[in-house]
């Protein structure tokens, strides 16, 4: 047992996904108590990155940067946000990242809409609640949210919302949207098990 009298907080985790350049690190920075930290998530071999950002093809590395941030919710809960590598080549890391996660935020850059498919697909497959958030970059022509919903073909209960990943208030609202999805789920399960 720990010799310290104070108890450790309960860690909770959400994933922040999206394609390369969709604003994951910006989103983490907007909420985190600490400057986003980066570590190398690649395990041992052959994590080969080919970034799909125009002109950057061919850039390779054997490791993948894993960004994360921490938010102290109250005296007994700390929220960790992990930015998941956007490329499907890093799929082997996702189970590790998703284990124990409450839900996911899928950031969408409408200029590269297809980059978010990997994340949406993964979250659907493992049954992790998620929200699709269209990042509103400055001066970008954005697809309407309805168009993004059609293109991503997510279930009707999955929120598709706009976000400014640079804005703390906007990110707070986004996390609350995800938590509301979780709350509805938890309540419906509670109601179902009461019968």
């Amino acid at each position: 047992m720990s010799p310290d009298s104070d108890r450790s907080p309960i860690p909770v985790k959400i994933l922040i996904s999206g394609g390369f350049g969709a604003g994951k690190t910006t989103a983490i920075a907007a909420l985190s108590d600490i400057p986003p930290l980066t570590t190398e998530g690649a395990m041992t071999t052959a994590a080969l990155a080919v970034d799909d950002r125009g002109g950057a093809e061919g850039k390779t590395t054997t490791t993948v940067a894993l960004d994360f941030g921490r938010v102290t919710i109250d005296e007994s809960i700390v929220l960790y946000m992990f930015g998941t590598p956007g490329q499907d080549r890093f799929g082997f890391m996702w189970n590790d990242l998703a284990d124990g996660a409450l839900g996911g935020l899928v950031l969408v850059d409408t200029a590269r809409l297809k980059d978010c498919f990997v994340a949406i697909d993964y979250f659907e497959r493992i049954g992790l609640p998620f929200v699709v958030a269209v990042n509103q970059f400055d001066g970008r022509e954005n697809l309407a949210l309805a168009e993004v919903r059609v293109a991503t073909d997510v279930d009707a209960h999955v929120p598709v919302v706009a976000v400014d990943a640079r804005s703390r208030e906007s990110m707070k609202a986004l996390v609350l949207t995800l938590l509301d999805v979780l709350l509805q789920r938890a309540r419906s399960w509670e109601a179902a098990s009461a019968h």
Partner: protein
């Protein structure tokens, strides 16, 4: 670089639909625990080991034990113990050390096995089933 990147093209749509979970055909062959990387210096500090003796989630909080406070250890182990005087996640330890997650897990796992560190808590999805807990989270986020 040890190997060349695959030259297949980025899939056009929903590639995971076609593959088993977490094992895309274009991905590396589950390299996490196999094939020792001979080109990666960080594994020198783990004596070449790539698997932790203890399962450790990235967000698992670890903290020094009383035994750990008295322990005489060197280098990375000392650095980790010092850093974990307060509960720290494995991910934070990794960032602090500047070592990859896999390396950090091995090092932290050793310290846990030696009872110099203790795992205080890991994230669990169980709390997602508790409406009261989610409401508490929402209150906390709204008040940030």
């Amino acid at each position: 670089m040890v190997t060349d990147p695959p030259d297949d093209e980025e899939p056009l749509a929903r590639p995971y639909l076609a593959h088993d979970l977490g094992r895309p055909s274009s991905g590396p062959p589950d390299g996490a625990d196999s094939a020792p990387e001979h080109d990666v210096r960080p594994y020198l500090v783990t004596a070449g080991r790539t698997a932790s003796v203890t399962p450790l989630a990235l967000e698992a909080l670890v903290r020094i034990t009383s035994r750990g406070r008295d322990a005489q250890v060197a280098y990375e182990a000392a650095e980790i113990l010092h850093f974990c005087r307060r509960p720290q996640s494995v991910a934070e330890v990794s960032a602090h050390l500047g070592r990859p997650v896999a390396v950090t897990r091995v090092l932290v796992g050793d310290l846990v096995a030696a009872n110099l560190l203790t795992i205080e808590a890991s994230a669990t999805r169980d709390v997602a089933d508790d409406p009261a807990f989610i409401e508490r989270l929402m209150l906390g986020v709204a008040g940030l």
